[in-house]
Symmetry: C2
Subunit: 245 residues, 2 copies
DNA sequence: GCCGGCTATGCCGCCGTTCGATATGGGCCG
DNA sequence: CGGCCCATATCGAACGGCGGCATAGCCGGC
């Protein structure tokens, strides 16, 4: 992680020094995976690297959507609110995930840092111009959006039809699989978000989340380790528990 | 509606006769809206028109995803199943909606006709070739996917955090707004799907759906009319009820 | 007119919520 | 280094909204 010490930092080395994208650890996962060296250079020209602390709100629902982001380190959460304060977290973003697609010029959700995060930041206009110029990039972005759509449908099944226990098991499995895709070990799985965040992601309360973790621990399905890590004792069993079969 | 009388019909008039897309009533809503006359002609070359009766399963979750569709008339439902039969309907498709995006060569959900439907049918390979050739079409498809993503996030908020009453009110509002976008009157709203389908879309049971409709009727928010139509007495009130404010 | 599927509704039970109290643990300061 | 403090997590008890089941009513099709 670069040694930044401010909330927002303009990465002047992007233009002057070596191409930062060339050394990007998550490039293969992102929209940038589709690009050649020359295209990467063009992308780097319009990019800023920024860093935020946990709890920082990147943007709020309804804000003007003039910026796109790519997560390069840390975890973010996206959420929507009801007037009385009820909250639904619609997704957690991990390194390599894209952020900032919008429909009508405004963001449809809020985005907040869960852990310290670093992001690549693209002005929307210039990004769109690049997309027109590089159809490969457009196609890659479309493919990522399709993947998110499929994940959203999985999440609908979870929210609408799964029990508390199935939801927690599905959640742990998802974190494990996403960690694996990023080249980390699948077990034990790192769970950086709070019980409240997990509850608002799964359509539960913090109490139910706590109780269910305790229940899974008591029945020897998982173990809670130091540093927000969860050891999964039997991955196949967890998979079955996640689908009620 | 063309006078088809079979389950699957190859529309031979597409190539031989007048360009059918030119007269398409929902073209402005679909991916085809982005196309010029010449591009439309190319699209028409690879297209078949098909028609299905209610209950017909277009494809199932896990099937090989070698075909894309565009709904031109009627209503379809998309759903996912759990091993024990629990079902979550992830969306209802109306004329103009696109269908068949997939991640790993297989459909991630099943698709079934709710009412009699007519669809445009595109072989996946040839469609992808056209997308490469016409970036405007690719961009349009991406924009439609972004819209669906936003709708999916709304649905997550509904499933995870709204009460039964709020869910039903949100559902009626959505149908009303979608009807309006298609040039129909927003009120009364046509509700072609069964209580069971509504329940599986909103994460409820049929009984709760029935009870909630009765409750809304008793409190004079709506009235149930002939022909599966619902009269909304006060649209603003319904909007407030849908968000719990 | 009869039959079958869908819808409506009363009754009861349960899962998850709500509320309150207690435990834990990490950060900060003395 | 130890102790305090506040946020978070955990746990117990009571409540309530929604689900499950059974029955009755409705409507459409043949």
């Amino acid at each position: 992680m670069p040694p930044f010490d401010m909330g927002r930092v303009r990465d002047v080395s992007a233009q002057a020094d070596v191409n930062p994208c060339g050394a990007c650890p998550v490039r293969s996962l992102t929209v940038c995976a589709a690009l050649e060296a020359e295209e990467l250079r063009r992308l780097a020209e319009i990019l800023q690297t920024v860093r935020f602390e946990p709890g920082h709100t990147l943007f709020g629902e309804g804000d003007k959507a003039d910026t796109l982001y790519n997560v390069t380190a840390g975890t973010m959460k996206l959420y929507k609110l009801l007037p009385d304060g009820r909250r639904q977290i619609t997704g957690f973003l991990l390194p390599g995930d894209f952020l900032g697609l919008s429909v009508n010029e405004t963001y449809a959700y809020s985005a907040e840092a869960v852990t310290p995060v670093t992001l690549c930041r693209f002005p929307r206009r210039r990004m769109e111009a690049l997309l027109d110029e590089f159809p490969k990039m457009q196609r890659r972005l479309f493919s990522m959006a399709s993947n998110e759509l499929a994940a959203a449908q999985d999440q609908m099944l979870l929210l609408g039809r799964k029990t508390a226990k199935e939801k927690i098991c599905s959640f742990l499995l998802m974190l494990s699989q996403r960690a694996q895709r990023r080249g980390h070990k699948e077990n034990p799985v790192h769970v950086p978000m709070s019980r409240a965040d997990i509850a608002d992601y799964l359509g539960l309360t913090t109490e139910t989340v706590s109780r269910t973790f305790t229940q899974l621990k008591t029945s020897r399905v998982i173990a809670l380790l130091e540093g927000n890590k969860v050891q999964i004792h039997d991955m196949d069993q967890l998979y079955d528990l996640a689908e009620g079969s």
